[in-house]
Symmetry: C2
Subunit: 182 residues, 2 copies
């Protein structure tokens, strides 16, 4: 499993012998925009995480997707209808000036919401300050796959901050685009 | 629907009044890595498209996701088990040198596989030449949402070509990262 005859790709490209290496080596050559997803657990605690999987799915209706681990502290905010009724998250699109924010929301859980870098926003959800753009999304699908989940949200609202170059993650470092290719 | 009281975000950020504008304006500030997904329709025709939605979902097992329209000419290659038995696609990670390839696979369908920029690869799937990395993925989930679908693939194999800066799409132009932020 996870192995094909090397002969299949002979003469085309060097071959990677196992599935995990193929995955890791390929994604090392990928670059992704950086977002932060925030929400509230059923007991009201602010939770969130830095995500490199945000993608648009459709414009009409406006739909987006992101991926997450179901062991994430933020999963209870996304998992399903709660007595509190919230099925919403805020997705923040980060700019180059937001690198510290990306690092903080990928760091120790106890420190992610300690400070004045956020305030309650729409539906009392944690709204991070100083980002170029954010969207309020209603969770419309959760697709568990292994220990993870694909989450589909329908965008209902949003706001813009000062413009900025988008923050990228590539080769384990934060970067920004270098401008249009000539 | 798609509207919240403007009062909710007062004093935080300018407000966007409708859901579609919120979605479009936010994603305009996003940057994404560029990939090309290829496959074969049940009758054997090569199909493929340029995607800016590729994301990793898990490392063990190695899983990735991408989004597509179900009206895409490539949908029959992904849609479900065929008599031909193929449920695989090849995902190519593009480099800055592959911009013409990205444009071709986003252009007129009749011209996407006309030329010698590809050859049959693993499982006879179309393998594009000269890309930094590619992965063979078995389709394990298809999640229809509105006219679109989220596709989950398990990576089974792959290959590497010459290294390159990853190709990005931002503000309707192809770009490359500008290097680590200082």
């Amino acid at each position: 499993m996870g192995r094909r005859s090397a002969g299949l790709t002979e003469g085309v490209e060097p071959h990677i012998v196992d599935d995990l290496s193929a995955f890791k080596l390929a994604f090392r050559r990928h670059a992704a925009g950086v977002a932060i997803v925030t929400g509230r657990t059923p007991d009201g605690a602010p939770v969130g995480f830095t995500a490199t999987s945000l993608a648009s799915l459709a414009a009409v209706p406006p739909l987006a997707t992101f991926n997450m681990a179901r062991i994430s502290t933020a999963w209870p905010a996304v998992e399903g209808p709660h007595p509190s009724g919230s099925e919403h998250v805020i997705i923040h699109l980060l700019g180059a000036r937001n690198r510290a924010l990306a690092e903080r929301l990928a760091g120790p859980h106890g420190e992610r919401f300690t400070g004045d870098h956020w305030a309650p926003g729409p539906l009392e959800l944690p709204l991070l300050k100083g980002v170029p753009a954010w969207m309020l999304g209603r969770v419309v699908e959760r697709v568990p796959v292994a220990d993870n989940a694909v989450v589909v949200v329908q965008i209902e609202d949003g706001g813009l901050g000062a413009d900025d170059a988008p923050l990228l993650y590539h080769e384990r470092s934060y970067q920004a685009p270098g401008g249009p290719l000539s």
